[in-house]
Subunit: 193 residues, 2 copies
DNA sequence: CACGCATCTTTACACTGTCAAGATACAAGC
DNA sequence: GCTTGTATCTTGACAGTGTAAAGATGCGTG
């Protein structure tokens, strides 16, 4: 049961509480003490599971990134071709953060994203959403037998990522207005790719 | 003179101190009290000039945005054509923040950028760098007599902005590695446009 | 000269992250 | 079963933060 604290699943409960606070009160209201209070636990209890506030935040980010990933993976698995998958990934990338602007600010306000653009130079700590984009792009190349130098590939990957990420960023800055239905427009693939 | 505090230029001194802190100790070390201390003034003195910490931060942002703007304006005035101006603006956009990653996090960690994409729907509070991009793009259209519907124009503007902004954002996330010389590559216009 | 007002200081408060010391309770060994 | 140990949680404290109220200071205007 969930009332048997003092042992069990406090670590996960703290992460969930953090996500809840971000969703309900915004990223700027996330604090160690509030997270602890939400779990009915003293303000120093989190230190048994995380050495830092940063370590808690990092765990919450990993959790949110997980949700983000399932959204992107759905785009890939639902797409009939790898070309469509690429475009749909971008669409879901932007749509995810339009639905939860606080997640964007939370995930990318720090500076800890690691990513190796160069094909073949993967790294275990690479940011998972980026890895998926890279894989999908490479599959697109090989499926369609498109010849591309390594440097051209790097540029392509960077452009794909940047356009989706930049669009998401702009969409999350509260006062940016477009005349058309933004989400609808994105789904017609005119903005991405 | 600058020693005659207690009257004079405290407001501007606070802004300059804020910029200095961001440059030397990073955006996360910016605090009202440190800014006040740097000006040899009590910790509550800023409240005579700003109602909030937010209002101070907003003033500092405006100051930094000013530096950013002169960088972009230089690209426009130095370019022989409006087409070249567009590309160079993007290049300077990214280069500026690559030189000062802390400025990027500082400027865009909040959510107060206002921008009206639709041509003809300008607003006095629109983000100046965006306004310049929009103007340059429209000049490019008219100079080259390129026919474009209003919605197509919106999409173009958004794509231009998003690619530059996304590239800057990615470049500012510490662990993103490319095999080529990033700044050099950007200046060859292969990434932007 | 006196008044008023903008500016700055002092003091206080709630909230934050962090740490040290102690309490609690489960698991393992005898 | 009882003791011991260790992971977990509590309590209390401290420095740093933003903010508000109250008082001090000194300039310009009447």
């Amino acid at each position: 049961m969930s009332d048997s604290y003092h042992h069990g699943n406090l670590r996960q409960a703290l992460i969930d509480a953090g996500v809840k606070i971000i969703n309900e009160n915004g990223e700027e209201n996330l604090s160690l003490r509030k997270v602890a209070a939400l779990c009915n636990v003293s303000h120093a209890a989190p230190y048994s599971h995380f050495k830092d506030k940063d370590e808690l935040v990092e765990a919450i980010k990993a959790h949110v990134t997980g949700q983000f990933m399932t959204e992107l993976e759905k785009a890939v698995s639902d797409a009939p071709s790898s070309e469509k998958a690429l475009v749909d990934m971008g669409r879901n990338y932007v749509a995810f953060f339009m639905r939860r602007p606080d997640y964007f600010k939370f995930l990318f306000s720090g500076q800890n994203i690691v990513a190796h653009i160069q094909p073949g130079k993967e790294h275990p700590e690479d940011y998972p959403p980026f890895v998926l984009l890279k894989e999908t792009y490479l599959k697109y190349l090989s499926e369609n037998k498109i010849p591309r130098t390594e440097e051209e590939q790097e540029v392509d990957i960077l452009k794909l990522w940047a356009s989706a990420h930049g669009l998401a960023s702009i969409a999350c800055m509260s006062g940016v207005e477009v005349s058309f239905d933004w989400e609808k427009k994105i789904s017609t693939d005119e903005l991405l790719r």
